[in-house]
Every structure is written in structure tokens, then in C-alpha cells.
Symmetry: C4
């Protein structure tokens, strides 16, 4: 199996996990960058993530066009993905979601920040992108590449940007990591919200965030354990396959 | 299939979705206006929404009487629907529900307003109707057409009215839209409640609300995607059928 | 079928509903008074409510003794039921539960009161019984008839008493009504808690509570609709049977 | 069946219960001390608790080494268990989990304390262990025996220690008790959090905690009822077996 085949299979799993874990509902999407052609990415056609199958995955260029003759509808907000892949060569996977728990932090001035260990991957700073700043009154959706690029600029070198009154965009160096981050960012938001109700709270330090980043790879035992567990909960454990070891890691091309 | 047949099928789906999404429980109901006879509407007989089937749908006149010889019990609060259809010729579908998340805003002075993009359809202003204002001490239920008309007057040209200590009534130009609104109004209420706990919050502007209204139709790809997803979650995906395109849209009569 | 047979069947349903609606977990119980012998009541032996079947129902006297030769374990807190039936001849059914949503009001000074229409049945005043007031340091459980009587005295003529750091006891004139109240008291508590976070809230008036009490009977269409719905959700819809009409109401004896 | 065989079976049940009750997700673990060799304990290999079966249970020494030739991955944080068993000869079972409800109390200054009767088993004082105090910037995980011992020192003679931004460690004199405590500590945390939003709250007294400790054994009717109920909910009721009476209690060795 090629790395691309492997990743397309994992993208199906990623969609199902995000749906089951209530990160996405009818809306929201997850993509990965083509492992061989960095100016391309893979994203489902426009259907609810829970229902995504292999045949629904569509190759896009960075401006959000489908490659080849594609008669099916594309996600309206595919420009989120294109904009981020274009600005951030280090990013291999992107999630956009409307997860309920992050919404309060997108409309208030209190910043979202990591306070629990599993939230560390969002990094120390989570900017809030307000589409109105540069585009005035819109339907709040990222509906063209200019808006996608503007969001990517706000994201900068961070891993997560909140989108005012809308949701978040998360970027990571692997598909498994961006899914894990998308599951734990809302949990961190809930813990922070509740903690602030009790008084001042202690955030993770930069040193702690760095230590956690050093400790985790996408195919490490601890990360893969969560991947298998979430897939099993989402009813697609049979699609996960074996954890790629250093030796067996799927070959390029 | 006539438009009426199509809509009756979708009304069954609407009932199941509202139950699954926890908008209604044993109580609450959804109706649509007869596409050909604007002085009539369709609503289930008095059973829990989750259990509604095609044969349970009853035609009513605007004063809440069942058409023909109907031996079965009707919903006590059918006057909510009649009152709104009478006052608002533009309204084609109505939901009444006790959704838990809106209740705090129905008993406190803080107004419910749209702060997330999916909440935009409630519009800028959500009035609170207090049955006690004009009817004194009641059981809080809208049990006659005078009360239904009073509620409709409070609703005015808005899309949603809260009912003090009771729930909400939502009105829209299509069945799919009123269901979507009824799912997202509670989500918006939760986000607003949590956001207010963090400090002042940013609401959607009128321009944003307008832009969103322009962008969505009941049978657009993005709206239908949610409809199919919710129906699938509710176990009645097989009742949804194909998305009506502009060409294939069910014929009048 | 005798009224007693009918009620025992409904008691099984009541147990399953309370479990499914998260009012009880492994702990909590529901009873009804013998329709012909007012100094007796029926309560399950000591098992989790979700698992209760017809054969588990045990007849007790008002001091909490099982009638006849009963080798099986009884609920430790059966004295809650005995104490209330003894003090309140009008009460025909009792629930005791640890429902999470009422707990905050049992440990704080803010009183629980009805703010939503479905919460009206708790009545205007919900006293908090603190076992420590008369019994000092205990395990907080109502483990003898003296404690049961003390709780009943605190309950007085009300329908619900909170038990400090423990849960609530609810009393009503029918089994269906005490179950409905037990489902909606926690919902009311959540709405009140959230509403208080927004500022001052409006409670139901005594006139509204009275109007609601006049409007509902245990076998009215609206009440039975909820009973059937909850039973169906709890997987025991087949145990419910037909709604007793005025004519068909199960005969005494 | 030997006591060891019995306990290994119950450890499988414990894993499934903790997963179903949302105390653990992909992460978190539960162990018991070898009944005959106090310098050994049993813990699953590194898999998600929901998936644990008999064959996954691994014997460890108190420094966290697997006994014998064990090719499979071990839990990274097994040192939590070793550290506590070493410091506390009275402890027979340990849980570590990231339960969401305790996290706010781990990052704020407001102390977690028992306010509901089922929370009594945490004891009057719940210290917060901050790994940074003695180890500076880490990934927050207890990854060596020095850190496990430091946590155990902070735990002292208490039953639960919170771990800053991470979760909790709970210790008890039996497996059933540590699971019950782990289910109810989060519930107590939620009740306390909500109660504090209403104003000052009343905690359990030391006398009440003592009274409750005297009233419960791991195999008492009331405790076993919850164990059976939770196992049934978790789909492993068939693994529970019969409640060990005083006579039938599984023999040592």
C-alpha cells in the first residue's frame, strides 16, 4: 500500500472520529496534504463527515479547485484548507469545525489557552480571526481564497485559530495529530471555562508545551492507542489497520 | 409525487429529527402550511414527535380545528401554529418546543440574540412573550386561538419568540429551514450563556444576518446536507429521498 | 386486571423510565401505596431500578418491614417511603433519587423553585431537609423510621423536599405524576441554575401552579403521551398497555 | 477460583465500567495489588480501557517493571501505581484518570471537597499535586518512579490527589471501592462547581465521612448493587459473577 492509499484510508477514519466525538456535525471537514505533491490536498466532497467513504475523497489544488473533471459539489469552505497549506509548508493536515465548546471564546475577549495536558498541542497562543475585520458584513463563511489567505495570515505560526462566531481551524504536521488536537481543544475549552468560574487559573508553560511536543509522534504507541480507541467508538475500527512502525512506515509514492 | 405528498413525508422526518436532536421530547410539535390552501396547515395528532408516522398527520384550519371527521386527540397547543399562519402569510412552517437551552433566556432579562453563524436565522431580535401579560394566571399553555393570536402579535415580523418559562415558537418560509433554526437556536443559546460568563460578547450584525439569509435556500446543497445527516442520525434517512433540484422541484398540486 | 396488578406493571415501567431519564442510577427508588390497604406500599427489593422486574416488587408496611417471609435484601432507605405515606394520606406514590441537577440547591442557600411550566408540580416551596439537624453526623442515608418521619415532617404539605448533599424525595397523588415530576424537577433546576447566571429570574406564580394542577390528571391524554414516550425510550413500551379511560379505569380490588 | 483469578476478572470489569462511565477515555488506568505478594500489582498493557480483556493484564513490580518476558507496551504512567503501592501498604487498588469534571479544580485555587454523600470517600482533603514543583517543565506525565513517589508523597494519607492540568489519582482498600470513588468524584466536582455558582456551600463533616466509611464494604449489598448495575451498562454484566458473601469470599492463594 502506498502512503497515499494509507492516508486516504485514515482520512475516512478521521471523518468518522470527528463526527462521533462531536467535533463536527453536518458541517466541518478534515484534509491532508498530498504526500508527494505539496501543492495538492485531499478533502471529501460536500457530505456530512459521518457519511464519508473512500470514494468521496477529492483531490484539490491550493486555490480550492477540484483536480480533473469533478461533477460533485465541493465544500464551500475548502479555501480554509488551501489558504493554510499555501502559507504553511510545515502543515500536513487541517481541520475546520464548529465545535460548541470553543464558540464562547470566539465571541468574548477572554483568550483560549492550554490549561490541560492534552490541550498543549494548540500552543500558547490561539488568535481569534474576525472575518469582518477585512471583509465587512459577510455570511461568516470562508467562501473564497482571499478569505482563506486572510485566515491563514491570522493563524500565522500557531496551530489553532478561532473564527469569531463560527468555530476553529487547526493545523498540524500529521492527520492523526490534527484530529487529536481537534478532540482535545474543546475539552480544554470546557475545563478553562469552568476553571475561570472558580477564579484565576494556571496555564501550561511554554516549557511544558515544548516538552509535550517532543514526546509525541503520530505513530507512537500512546497516540495510536487513542486513534484505535476513537475509531472503535466510531464503528470503523476495522478501517484502522496496523500501527506503522519505523520499519513498516508506508513508503513514499 | 405532489408537493403535498412530498411535504407530508418531510414532516415525518422533521418530527424525528427534532426528537433526536433533543429539541422536543414528549412535547413540542412542527407543522407546515398547505401549499395550495393557505388557510390550512398540517400537524400530527397528539403523540410524541419521535413516534409520528404518515398516518398521524392531520389537516387543521387556522383556528385549530381538524378538517373532516377526526376522532383522534389533537395537540392542545395547536393554536400556536394557527395564530402564526394567520398573522404571517410569509410563514410556511412553524415549530413549538421546550428546548432546555432557551429556557434561561425566557425567565431572565438578558436577551437571546445571534452570536454564532448558525444562529443567524433567528434574526436580530427575539421577543419574549409572557402569557401572563394579557391572560393572567394560566397553565402557561397556548390553549385557545386568542392566546395563539397574542403570541403571534408578540412574534411580529421576527422569526423566533421565546415563551416565558415554557419554550419557543419559530416560524420560517420552509419546513427544512424551521427545523434547522430549531436545532441551532438552542446551540446559540448555550454559546451565548457560556460567553456571557466570560464577559461582554460580540453579536452578529444585521448585515451579517442579511448576508446569511441571502445565502441559503431550503434545497441548497449545504442545507440539504444537514437535513440528510440529521435524518440519518434519527434513523429515517430512507425517508428523505432525493434533493429537489430547481428542475425536479415537486410540482404544485 | 385488578388495579393492583395494573399498578405493579406500571411500577416496573416507572423504574425503567427513571433509570433511562437519568433520575436514578444504581441508587434511588419509586413506590406506590396499596390501593386497598393504605398502610402498605410496594417497592422493589434492593436492585438497580433499570433491572427491576415484576417479581422484584415487595409489599412493605409503613415502618419499612417486608410483608411475609422475604429472604431478599430490601432498600436501605425504604423508610423515606414509609415516613411519607404515614404522614400524608393524600400521597399515593413516592420517588427518592440523587439526581445530579438538584444537588447544588441542596448544599447552597439559593432555594429551588418552579420557573418552567413543567416544573410547576414541585409547588411554590421546596424545603431542604438536613439530616444533621436532628441526627448529627450520619452517613446521610435515611436508615430508620425515625429519620423517615423527620424527613416527612420537613416535607410537610409540599411535594418535593431536597435532602442536603444527597438528593430529593417527591410525593404525588399518582405513580405517573410522581415520575413526571421527578423527570422535570432536575430540568427545572438546570434552567434555574443557568437563569440565575444571567441575573434575576421570574418564578411561576401560585396562580399558575394552581392552574396547572387543575389541568392535569394521571391518565389525561397529555400526561399519558409522555408516559408512553418515556417507556418507549426506556425499551419497555410494550409494558405500558392502553391508557385507562374514565370507563375502562382499572377496578378497585 | 482463587482470589487472584477473581480479582483479574473484576479488573477487566473495572476497566469497562470506567470507560462506560466516562472516567477514562483512551487514557487512564486501574490496577490492584497482588493479594499474596504485596510488592506486585496488576495493570493492563497499554491499550484503551474499554478494550481490555483478561489476557491483557500484566503483573508489575513496584518500580513499574513487567514481571517476566513481556514483549508488549506498558502504560507510560504505570509509576503512579507503583509509587502509591510502595508508600501506602493499606492501599489495594489505584485509578488514574483525566476525568473532565475534576480538571477545573486542578488549575484553580478553589479546593475540591466532598459535598454529596457519594463523594464522601474522597475524604475531607484532596491535595493538588503540581509536577512542576519538583520537576520543572515536563510533559506533565508521571514517566518515572521518582515522579510516582513524589505524587504519592503529595497524596499522603488521603484517598485522592488531583494532578494539575492533568487529572487525578485515587487509592482505596479494594478494587470496587476505587472504581466507585472514581465514578463519584467527578459527580461531586460537578455538584460543587454548580453549587459555588449559587453562593457558599455546605461540605460534608468529618463525622459524616467517618460514618459513611464505617457503613460500606466492597461486597456489601449496596456496593455490589452499583457494581452489577455499572457492569450491566458497560455490557459486561456476565463477567461479574456472584457477590462474594462472608462465607464464600474467594480464598487466599
Amino acid at each position: 500500500m502506498s502512503e497515499l492509499d494509507f492516508l486516504i484510508g485514515q482520512l475516512v477514519v478521521a471523518n468518522r472520529i470527528l463526527a462521533k466525538e462531536d467535533v463536527v456535525d453536518a458541517y466541518g471537514h478534515v484534509s491532508f496534504r498530498h504526500p508527494d505533491k505539496p501543492e495538492r490536498f485531499f478533502l471529501s466532497r460536500s457530505i456530512a463527515p459521518e457519511l464519508v467513504e473512500r470514494g468521496d475523497i477529492v483531490e484539490h489544488d491550493l486555490e480550492g479547485n477540484a483536480i480533473g473533471d469533478e461533477p460533485r459539489s465541493l465544500y464551500l469552505e475548502r479555501f480554509i484548507h488551501g489558504g493554510i497549506y499555501e502559507a504553511r509548508p510545515d502543515v500536513q493536515a487541517v481541520v475546520h469545525a464548529h465545535s460548541e465548546a470553543v464558540l464562547p471564546f470566539s465571541i468574548a475577549v477572554e483568550p483560549l489557552r492550554p490549561v490541560i495536558h492534552s490541550g498543549s498541542f494548540m500552543g500558547r497562543t490561539v488568535p481569534v480571526w474576525d472575518i469582518a475585520d477585512n471583509f465587512g458584513d459577510t455570511n461568516l463563511l470562508v467562501s473564497n481564497i482571499a478569505q482563506g489567505r486572510d485566515l491563514a495570515e491570522c493563524l500565522g505560526a500557531n496551530n489553532v485559530a478561532l473564527m469569531r462566531g463560527h468555530g476553529f481551524a487547526a493545523a498540524s504536521k500529521s492527520l492523526i495529530e490534527v484530529v487529536r488536537m481537534s478532540v482535545y481543544v474543546p475539552r480544554n475549552a470546557r475545563a478553562l471555562l469552568a476553571g475561570l468560574g472558580l477564579g484565576p487559573v494556571k496555564s501550561l508553560t511554554q516549557g511544558e508545551i515544548d516538552a509535550r511536543n517532543r514526546g509525541y509522534g503520530p505513530y507512537s504507541v500512546e497516540t495510536w492507542r487513542a486513534w484505535e480507541f476513537w475509531a472503535s467508538k466510531a464503528g470503523c475500527g476495522h478501517l484502522v489497520g496496523k500501527r506503522p512502525g519505523e520499519a513498516e512506515k508506508p513508503a513514499k509514492g
